[in-house]
Symmetry: C2
Subunit: 146 residues, 2 copies
DNA sequence: ACAGAATAGTTGGTGACACAAACCAAATTA
DNA sequence: TAATTTGGTTTGTGTCACCAACTATTCTGT
């Protein structure tokens, strides 16, 4: 297990491979986020909100963070007009967080870039190899096969 | 690209798969590190020092961090007796960083745990599938095939 | 119906982590 | 040897994460 992204040893075992790929991907995500001044966590936050509005506690659960961490996160993003806090219609204590148009644009752009980068990563593989990889990943992730 | 670790959609494409796997792996690394109160960065730092002693600037380069960040990182680890600063024999300005026995133990233990966890991740695959995956990863990472 | 408990979110305090700019000491070069 | 470059630390700022304490609602048991 070479702990580094860019240190591909000659005898690469499966653990090394998975760990290195993981670092490579995180690097791509972080760099792409950085182009829009988004941290990894901000990126994930917006990614969640792309699919659904959510209350603070739900966000904390999705992100695996304490609710107080989400307060700061959302506040900073709100300052940048990426999202808004609305009163939840369901519970007067709760806050509903939703993307602004600007936030939505930014997420869409980020997703395009990330998809392109990750796709570039798998470019050295032939189409059937890519299919094989996808199947293996699905199996590892315990995903209902497509 | 579902931005979340634990949201395996039914139609998993290759980008989703890679990104999700990456998050899963980072989760494992972070959790395992946390058992020893090690952040992701500390983990990487110790991982580098496992293979070679290094000077501060080299560490900064490996980690992709500013040198001033490494100062703090190393200082905190030194406080915990995980590593030591020695004068570099090569250059009286430079500092050589090296693991202590304690640090070495901790790295060894961490590596065992991480290898086990990652191996568990690939357990659903048959042996030939694991070999296939390893080969695909090597090809993606541009690694000289084993 | 209403007192007590649980829940949603914020605030304040602490610490790790990362950067940038300013700085010192040793080494290089011109 | 004077000027510059290099290795590292310091200081200051901001993000990010946690915990404990707090307010305001909502829910529960009687």
């Amino acid at each position: 297990m070479t702990a580094q992204p860019g240190s591909p040893g000659p005898g690469l075992d499966i653990v090394d491979g998975i760990v290195q790929l993981s670092f490579r991907v995180q690097e791509i995500l972080a760099e792409t986020g950085a182009e829009h001044d988004l941290s990894m966590t901000q990126l994930r936050l917006l990614g969640i909100l792309r699919d659904r509005d959510a209350e603070m506690l739900q966000l904390a659960a999705y992100l695996g963070l304490d609710k107080s961490s989400v307060t700061g996160l959302v506040t900073r993003a709100e300052r940048r007009d990426l999202l808004r806090r609305l009163p939840s219609p369901r519970d007067r204590r709760a806050t509903l967080v939703t993307l602004t148009a600007h936030g939505r644009d930014l997420v869409a752009d980020g997703e395009r870039r990330i998809r392109a980068q990750i796709a570039a990563l798998t470019a050295p593989l032939t189409a059937p190899q890519q299919d094989a990889l996808t199947a293996l990943l699905a199996q590892i992730l315990g995903t209902p096969a497509p």
